[in-house]
Symmetry: C2
Subunit: 532 residues, 2 copies
Amino acid sequence: MMPAHLLHCQLAVWMLLLMVSGFSESGKLLVVPMDGSHWLSMRLVVEKLSQRGHEVVVLMPQVSLQSGVSDNYTVKSYPVSYTKEDLNGRLQNYVSSHLTGQPFPFNVLSIYNASLSTFPVFVDQCKNLFSHRELMQYLKQSDFDALLTDPVSLCGALVANYLSLPSVFFMRGLPCNFHYKANQCPDPLSYVPRIFTMNSDYMTFSQRLKNVLVDSIEFFYCNGFYAQGINFASKILKRDVTMLDLLNPSSIWLMRYDFVFEYPRPVMPNMVFIGGINCDERKALPKEFEAMVNASGEHGFVVFSLGSMVSEIPMKNAKEIAEAFGTIPQTVFWRYTGETPPNLAKNTKLVKWLPQNDLLAHPKARAFITHGGSHGIYEGICNAVPMVLMPLFGDQMDNAKRIESRGAGVTLNIIEMTSKDLSDALNAVINEKSYKENINRLSALHLDRPIHPLDLAVHWVEFVMRHKGAPHLRPAAHDLNWIQYHSLDVIAFLLAVVLVTMFISLKCCLFCYRKCFYKKERVTKSSKSKTQ
Amino acid sequence: MMPAHLLHCQLAVWMLLLMVSGFSESGKLLVVPMDGSHWLSMRLVVEKLSQRGHEVVVLMPQVSLQSGVSDNYTVKSYPVSYTKEDLNGRLQNYVSSHLTGQPFPFNVLSIYNASLSTFPVFVDQCKNLFSHRELMQYLKQSDFDALLTDPVSLCGALVANYLSLPSVFFMRGLPCNFHYKANQCPDPLSYVPRIFTMNSDYMTFSQRLKNVLVDSIEFFYCNGFYAQGINFASKILKRDVTMLDLLNPSSIWLMRYDFVFEYPRPVMPNMVFIGGINCDERKALPKEFEAMVNASGEHGFVVFSLGSMVSEIPMKNAKEIAEAFGTIPQTVFWRYTGETPPNLAKNTKLVKWLPQNDLLAHPKARAFITHGGSHGIYEGICNAVPMVLMPLFGDQMDNAKRIESRGAGVTLNIIEMTSKDLSDALNAVINEKSYKENINRLSALHLDRPIHPLDLAVHWVEFVMRHKGAPHLRPAAHDLNWIQYHSLDVIAFLLAVVLVTMFISLKCCLFCYRKCFYKKERVTKSSKSKTQ
């Protein structure tokens, strides 16, 4: 028998030949990205699809947080009705509304209100796209095989419906668990925590109660949240549509998480888990960072970034943080563009940008202070760096809870925390063995996969392009109404049968009883009358 | 930028180097297979794991349907309390009980009774294993990393529990959907058909009613089915266990299907789908078959096999089949060891064995007549050959229904069919375009996967060996009782709150009303008395 390594050689050579000879059949893909950090990891997929020879067209508003320029794919941009300042202002307003610090449920309401004032910018963007006649004409005439989108702004889903294109969704999640609802995925309230509840999958009675209550109000607030977008979609599609109508035709849902991070729960066959897709191979550090890293000595360093959307915070909070950093022996790289706090210690380096993944991948990285965005968290997991989490908005609170519940990090409230809280948290994750052990375990589990998430995502986009969708993965549940889905009609029928049977049996018994009783009575009466 | 094909080259060379240098860390695996055809595909995984340098020990009863000899892995055999004739007799009795032909629900009862008389042989086998002191001592002392088993006989699951080993289940399914129940996987009755109902995922009201009724009796018949095994397990583990207690610790469930074949439905993150794992690359045909295939001319040939367990059928049925074959222009390869039917036509070649996959992979294969075992069906799908299905026992009726519902085959009742039924069915699948188109579509979807099912299975067995299980994929639902899982306690609490609130509000209203009314009454009375 052929030895294992020879078999492997043979396999690899075969793959090599296949790849050199051009394995993939080229297709035509339309991409409707979501602005902001969401685009960071989707761009990786788009780049790779372009490299594999597909014609990729990306729709970008002319005013955007991300650069649309690329040599690899075509960018079609369209003018929008707002300025860069408008956009930045709205987003900063959204972010700062989270920095006021309120208890539950006021935090939820605050987030809701902030979202209500920010979200219309994406609806406007979509209106601008659809009112660009020339571009829409081009889209109609181009024979795309499929559409790739992050559905959180709904615009991509609307374009897919409008052009009748099979679609692939690429996302971390949607408000109100719409990504499960639209996909007919069971979502048990008893162990699947709802967003903003900060519950884990193990809940006490009162936490489960909170989960049920939050779930029951989701219907109302999410309808408000998406009302404008849905109205616009109904107008464009010339029929009344709901959120679920727009989302449920999607062929494949590429979910930017895995179950090292997310709590295990029921899923559907058309959900593909690509958590960690953004973790890159470690590259050499730029010289200035290399020098600082080398100078950090045996204590190593800490990386601190609040993500691409938040580069400064109120001075009061910045001072608390700077004070805490002064108490630890590690060097701290702090991505910060605001005014330098007066109490900044020598070990703290303020930088306008930092090579986050390459720093985290360095063996001297001791801790990662993050806002808890899913990209950053996965870089922490991939590189096995314990975290201090300072969640700000969106899913960040819940992301932080997931890492904390696995013993791989400590969550702090950036508004309420003192410098002592932060230095305690840093000391804990750096010096207590359990945090490093837990993040090592999570990292080992996460990285032990049969295929890289990027290749997996590329495979499924190409799959949808090749087969014009994935109808074989679409559950029949889509064609059942709520009563049928829960078999309530069958249960009602069976109950009716049981009740009718009982009623007839009872009537029969009564009839027989009366017959006997009546006879007896008659006999008794007649015998009595005789005796009288 | 580096062109795509160069990037691929680089990747492939890297993989090559990795493989040559010995990628996998070797471990120690215990395998407890199920006898019969179930072992056919599990053996592929065991062989590959051995080739990858793991120490694999397979437990085999001395009397078995499959040969246990291998150069690659260690076989530990143990004596059993029955003879080869006993085993064959029981299995033949089981098979022939299905050839009587009865309507629903008598067919289910007949299968149930046949199973009740056949199944104890596997319990005996397990008792024999546990009474073999020397072997048990060896198992206890050997430090296995994990256990791989087909849990249908329960013995492997019992050994895993007994030795406290993390386990991987490898299977097509379990009676009564235990593979979903034990894994906390939602199983909606409205579109997930129960076994033996012959329902598809699209059901009428009466089919959904049947589904609910069958599901409600499953609890009773499955408990009867597994009663002996459970009793024995309770004795061995020295505590009362249920079927679910034995099954639910399993780390990974390797499911021998995918959603080209199975209806899409909710799944759990620890279920891995490896349908088509048994489809091999096409190999050259043996000379005698090559000659016959070449002689078949433009009409091509038909492959007919009823699986490894059924090689002969009653003469009455054999004659009907032989007659039908005489009416088609194709050559027929019929795996058959019984008496030659007197009306056998010239185009029909009776053979004791046939290279099924290699014949199906031949471009001249026109149709595949199969009993509907999952291995055979996947060979039909992989090679895109339309099927005529003659299901006999176990899951075969339901397998056949799945292929028929996708328009890739015709199902016949082998007992009731006439020769005309068979020739009509063959003419349909061979000459009507839709069957070939549908099986081509299924085949294309099935084969378009990011990784071969065999590599996927090997990866997950190694994963469990490396990490001593996969606890991160275990849902919290395992720790909830039925009431908690369905949030019935929360709902009851909320109802109670609503009722108490309503009661108090009502009482308050009544109190206020009475107060006012009483005052008025007093006022009225006093004014009346004054006027009097």
